[in-house]
Structures are given as structure tokens and as C-alpha cells.
């Protein structure tokens, strides 16, 4: 098992900063346009999420709202590892993945606003982004509920002799539920091309990995199912992309599941309304420090290599800002769903004898 971001401290119970040492990937022969595209995508998700948080505090967005702030390099690196034909399942922290998989940000924002132009027509909201065309097969709100679905999607792929891969994203807290064990076991037994990706931000809501996992080195936990696991520094978009690409392509060729753990800093609380009081001042500073901010890190790296100039930085920032504003305006102006559509999506095959339509309607027609 490769350990591409080997912890310096060695013990699992050491401080987070000791666990997460850096070993930068070199820019090597990367094309500048590829690097700038990653930079732009990460910045876009950052600004999109900031705008989302703002809209939430203004009560333009309801419900729960879990942001990808701090995890942008992980999102962009993972999404670039997938081919267009590959499928993606995620948990509730799904806005960035939806955009990264190719969904229209305007429609992602409209979904957050609960409008008809939303990707799920306003039926899903923050946790349930879905798009058949880009093969983003859903954000799911029950921790680990998406794991069995992902194995089943991969079963359908192999049943038809296809070569698509299914990526299944989850948080560190997922690795202790029954569906984790059952799904990894079935994926290996049935030779299913699934890459299970654990985003380890070291906190399942407010409970640390050490408090919840008897084996906190999560990438090792595939061993019980003979599933190879790797760990990658989620602050480094190139490292994430390289590792994920390797595993996705091996899953495709070898028709077998893999496990990838990506360390990633969650800059804020679990959701928009969580002030993260369970964090110490030191932990909060650590989560938000420039040293751990994937965009600041990548910015510095590209600037040092002369790829990102001041002018270019401003140009990208301006175009990202304009596009995010456009998405928010689109969402604002999209109509709210008409209540006459309330019964449109209960059954794919309509049922007879649907006597009660609205709550106060009589069960039997006059």
C-alpha cells in the first residue's frame, strides 16, 4: 500500500499538524493551461460556496447546507480522474462535486434556491444534486446510504459488459457503519469497479476520527476485504488527481474495487449553521491557515513557476466572480415550483385510486 503523504509524527493520535506533513508534487511537465484550469475550478468552487453561505444567511437557501470550503483541491483532483462516462455517488457535501462532474453551476445554484430550473427541479436541495447526463448519480443525506447504491451501479455496469467506473465519495464518519462493511465486501466478492473515496477531514460533525474509529488510518480499512487502499494529501490537487486517476484506471482494467483516503481540511463547521465550537483555537487556526488552504498553496506554487501572474490572477478572479453572480442571478430569477406539481414525482408508473391529493382534500370524491 502506497502512502503518498506519509505522516511525520507516526502515531495516529498525534496532533493533526504532525499527521499532515507536506510533500509537494512537482509541476514537472504539466501544461500551464491544465494547471490554470485546476486553479480556476478550485477558485470557482470556493467563490460559489462563499456565495452559497451568504445566500443561506440571507434565508435565500433553506434546509441544511454543507460546504466544500477547504476541500476544493480534493474535489477538483478527484473529478479530473474520472472519464465523462464514469459514474459518481456522493454524500450530502455535494455542491463542488456536482460542478466538478460537469453540471451547470446555474442549475446547481437554482436547486439550492429550490427553483424549477434546479437540477432536481427543487425537489432535492443541497444534499440531493443529481444529473443523468453528466452521470452525477446523486448526493445522499443518510451517512453511507450511497455505498450500496454505488456497488449496485457498478453491478449494472459489469452486467452489461461496460467499462465505466463508479466513484463513491464519503466522509470519514462513514467508515464505521454497516453499509461500509457490507458494500466493500460485496464490491470485492463481485469484482465491481468501484473506487471508494473517503474524505478524511478528521471530524464527523464534531467527533474526531480517533474518537470514532478503532483504526483511524482509514485507507488501511480495505484490508479486511483485500481491497487495496491508498492515502493522499487532499490539499494537493495534482497528487489527488494522480492517485485517483491511477486507481480509477486500475479499477477499470482489473475490474476490482479500490479505496482512497484523502486528507482534507474542512475550513468551517460541519454545516453552515455549525460554529464548530468543538474545535480548539489551535485547530481552528490550523484548518484555516494559508499553509493548509489548497487554493493559496496552489496559487503560490503557480506564481513561483511563473504560470500565474498578477494580471492573470485578477482576470481569473473577475471571470469567476462574474460567473458566480450569473449563477446566483439565474437562481433568483428562476420560478418557484407550482404547487400543482406536488404529486408529479411520487411514482414513475402512475397509480390508480389516488384519492387524496392535498392534505385537506376528502379521501373520496363527491
Amino acid at each position: 500500500m502506497a502512502d503518498t503523504a506519509k505522516p511525520k509524527g507516526g502515531t495516529a493520535r498525534g496532533s493533526a499538524s504532525r499527521r499532515r506533513s507536506r510533500k509537494d508534487t512537482a509541476l514537472g511537465n504539466e501544461k500551464p493551461e491544465t494547471l490554470l484550469d485546476y486553479y480556476r475550478q478550485m477558485l470557482f468552487i470556493r467563490r460559489f460556496e462563499e456565495r452559497t453561505g451568504q445566500a443561506y444567511t440571507q434565508a435565500r437557501i433553506g434546509g441544511y447546507c454543507h460546504l466544500n470550503l477547504g476541500e476544493e483541491a480534493t474535489v477538483v483532483g478527484l473529478m479530473d480522474a474520472l472519464q465523462e462516462r464514469d459514474y459518481l455517488f456522493t454524500n450530502y457535501r455535494d455542491h463542488g462535486y456536482a460542478i466538478g462532474k460537469g453540471m451547470d453551476p446555474k442549475r446547481v445554484m437554482a436547486e439550492l434556491y429550490g427553483r424549477v430550473d434546479g437540477v432536481s427541479k427543487g425537489w432535492g436541495g443541497s444534499m440531493h444534486m443529481y444529473d443523468t447526463q453528466t452521470r452525477m448519480l446523486g448526493g445522499y443525506g443518510i451517512v453511507g446510504g450511497q455505498l450500496p447504491l454505488a456497488t449496485g451501479a457498478a453491478l449494472a455496469v459489469t452486467y452489461r459488459g461496460g467499462d465505466e467506473v463508479v466513484m463513491c465519495q464519503m466522509g470519514d464518519g462513514t467508515t464505521n457503519i454497516g453499509a461500509w462493511h457490507e458494500s466493500l465486501n460485496i464490491a470485492k466478492l463481485w469484482n465491481l469497479p468501484v473506487v471508494f473515496v473517503v474524505i478524511n477531514n478528521f471530524t464527523g460533525m464534531g467527533t474526531t476520527v480517533e474518537m470514532s474509529s478503532a483504526e483511524p488510518e482509514l485507507y488501511k480499512r480495505g484490508a479486511a476485504f483485500r481491497i487495496e487502499g491508498e492515502r493522499v494529501d487532499g490539499r494537493d490537487v495534482l497528487a489527488v488527481r494522480d492517485t485517483a486517476t491511477r486507481l480509477v484506471e486500475r479499477a477499470r482494467e482489473e475490474q476490482t474495487p479500490f479505496l482512497l483516503e484523502a486528507w482534507s481540511y474542512r475550513q468551517k463547521g460541519h454545516s453552515v449553521v455549525d460554529p464548530a465550537k468543538y474545535r480548539t483555537d489551535e485547530q481552528r487556526d490550523e484548518a484555516r491557515s494559508e499553509e493548509n488552504d489548497p487554493i493559496a498553496l496552489f496559487d503560490a506554487k503557480l506564481a513561483k513557476a511563473g504560470i500565474l501572474t498578477d494580471d492573470l490572477r485578477e482576470e481569473i478572479a473577475a471571470s469567476v466572480k462574474a460567473e458566480v453572480t450569473e449563477a446566483a442571478d439565474f437562481a433568483e430569477n428562476s420560478p418557484k415550483p407550482d404547487v400543482s406539481t406536488l404529486f408529479d414525482y411520487t411514482y414513475a408508473t402512475p397509480v390508480p385510486n389516488e384519492s387524496r391529493r392535498m392534505p385537506a382534500d376528502p379521501v373520496f370524491a363527491e
Binding site: A348, T349, N353
Partner: protein
């Protein structure tokens, strides 16, 4: 017409649907090499091979959820859960996922799958293996819940369930597998138009004094009750619900409007049970026609005991249902035999 068992009706129809549609596959515990705990899947592995007949580990959440995911991509999995009691392990995948995916993604993808599962008491299997918990699933919009009582229903309803684009809980009753009934000659033909309409109840026996409503095994018991009371010159109309969601209220309400009285027999527990919903619907739809309060005969509200006399006493019987029917009729001054 030919006479076959409920078991054979299920087995032959399942096979016919697999022949008809390459996307139909069977997933479950002991369904392949073992040929099914209750032998519904006998012969399928030999005929269709392990690609289409998938034995699973004992991991209900894992394989039921896998079937949901496969259905999202267009396969039509038929899952066998060894007993409905084990569905509790998979209930997150059934209620939070199978039932919700069509709605919460705004109709972008459906979940065309069937979960076949037997249940019911009377086999001396003790508390955790003698339950009818169809209520949990019948409560959930997005699921369809079917409960056939005869071999003919088992065949036409299983065919409908497999061809339907929504997740269907297909309830079988351990007490029915060996029961026999008439089926059309072509019931096992792959191209068969004998497909039930999901959500239709049926008046299976006409009568004029009282309506007796049941489903699954209790629909069969209801027929026995009607036959016995006919000897005493009491005319019982029997309604077989067949589908618990969607629920065909109109059929039993129309029947009650005709007879003026109703008794409901159910194999589940009384409080909050299916019968409570039926009774409420009768009150809402036929109050002015009722000559007596609607009565319910259900399972005793205890964890099912193992000892035979206790178990027998806990289950509704021809005798207990007959007694309640006579009480209801005498309460309204109708002559009772």
C-alpha cells in the same frame, strides 16, 4: 385452466419474466446454489447462470441497496429477502433510498425493482420470525406494496411488479406457498398479457349481509369464513385488497355501501394496523350507509409465542372472525344463523 400451488405460480412467472427480459435478474440469500429457502428460485441458477442469479452474503442492507443502485441504471432486479423480518436490516435502503430516489431527484431516475419476501405467523418460528410488518412499507409514498392471496394473483401481480417502474414490496405468506388454485393455461408464457393492475382490489365473493375485508392469507381465510357462514344462511361479501399501497378504497367502500356492515381481518397487530386505515376509510366514505360499527379481527398484540396453542390463539381464525361477524349483524338486528 390448471390447478397449481402459489409456490409454483411464483416460480414459473419469475422464470418467464427472466426469459422475456434480459434486464431481469435475481439477487438474494440462498437463491442460487441452495435454490431458495422456500424453493421459489429452484432451477434458475442452472438455467440462467450466476450472472443473472446472484447469491449474496448475509448482508441485507448491502444487497438490497445494490439492487437499488442497479435499478437506477436500468436493470430490473428481483430481490428475495428470506423473510420480511430481515427487511428491517435493509429498511434504510428501502425507505430512505428506493422509495425516495424518484421524487427527490425530480423524476430523473426511477427504481424498477421488486423485493419478494414471505412473512406471517403460524409456523412456530417464534417472535422475530412470525411478523407481518407490511404496515411500515405501506405507510411510505414512493413504494408500492402488493399482497397476493391466490396462485392466479401471485402470477399476474408478480408480472406487474417486475414490469412496473417503481420499487415494489411483494409480500408472500408462508402459509400460502402450498395452497392451490386455478391459473390460466398460459400463466407461465414469457409473452403474457395477464398482468395485474397494481392498486386494484377485488370482490372475490358476492354477498349481501356484510363485507369481510382481508388480504394475503387472510383473504383466503375470509373466503373460508364466507363459505362456512353461507351454510348458516349468512351472506358474506369478501373483498381481497391485493394491493396495500396504492390502496383501492373505492372497491371496499362500494361494497360496504351495499351491505351496510364491515369486518376487517388482518394478520398484523391491531393498534395502528392496516385495518385501522381501512376502518377510517369506511368511516370517511360510507358513514351514512353503516348499520353497525366497523370491527377488526387482528393478531393478538404480543410478540409471537412459540408454543403451538399460544400461537394458534394469537392468530385470527375462521371461528374468531365468524364470531365477530355474527356479533356485528346481531347488533343491527339482522338475523344470524
Amino acid at each position: 385452466m390448471s390447478v397449481i400451488t402459489y409456490r409454483q405460480a411464483l416460480r414459473d412467472t419469475l422464470r418467464a419474466e427472466m426469459v422475456r427480459d434480459e434486464n431481469v435478474l435475481v439477487i438474494g440469500e440462498e437463491i442460487g446454489v441452495f435454490e431458495g429457502s422456500y424453493k421459489i428460485t429452484e432451477g434458475l441458477l442452472k438455467e440462467f447462470g450466476p450472472r443473472r442469479v446472484k447469491d449474496t452474503p448475509i448482508a441485507e442492507e448491502g444487497f438490497v441497496g445494490a439492487a437499488v443502485g442497479a435499478a437506477m441504471l436500468g436493470l430490473r432486479p428481483v430481490v428475495e429477502l428470506m423473510t420480511i423480518n430481515f427487511s428491517l436490516i435493509a429498511i434504510d435502503q428501502i425507505i430512505n433510498h428506493a422509495a425516495k430516489i424518484y421524487g427527490m431527484f425530480g423524476g430523473q431516475t426511477s427504481v424498477p425493482m421488486v423485493i419478494r419476501t414471505p412473512g406471517g405467523g403460524g409456523q412456530q418460528l417464534g417472535a422475530t420470525h412470525s411478523q407481518n410488518i407490511e404496515l411500515f412499507y405501506s405507510f411510505i409514498p414512493g413504494l408500492k406494496v402488493m399482497a397476493p392471496s391466490t396462485p392466479a394473483e401471485a402470477s399476474s401481480m408478480l408480472r406487474a411488479a417486475i414490469r412496473d417502474d417503481d420499487p415494489v414490496l411483494f409480500l408472500e405468506n408462508l402459509g400460502l406457498y402450498n395452497s392451490k388454485g386455478e391459473v390460466p393455461e398460459d400463466y407461465a408464457e414469457p409473452e403474457n398479457s395477464n398482468v395485474a393492475t397494481i392498486g386494484r382490489a377485488a370482490v372475490t365473493r358476492e354477498g349481501s349481509d356484510i363485507t369481510l375485508i382481508g388480504y394475503s392469507r387472510m383473504a383466503m381465510v375470509a373466503t373460508q369464513v364466507a363459505e362456512k357462514l353461507a351454510e348458516e344462511d349468512i351472506s358474506v361479501e369478501v373483498v381481497d385488497l391485493r394491493s396495500l399501497r396504492p390502496l383501492d378504497r373505492q372497491t371496499f367502500v362500494d361494497s360496504v355501501k351495499k351491505t351496510g356492515a364491515a369486518v376487517i381481518c388482518e394478520d398484523d397487530w391491531l393498534t395502528y394496523g392496516i385495518g385501522a386505515e381501512i376502518a377510517a376509510s369506511i368511516q370517511e366514505g360510507a358513514f351514512d350507509y353503516l348499520d353497525a360499527p366497523v370491527r377488526r379481527v387482528a393478531m393478538a398484540e404480543v410478540p409471537m409465542p412459540y408454543a403451538k396453542p399460544l400461537e394458534t390463539a394469537a392468530l385470527p381464525s375462521v371461528e374468531s372472525i365468524s364470531t365477530v361477524i355474527k356479533e356485528t349483524l346481531s347488533a343491527v338486528g339482522k338475523r344470524v344463523g
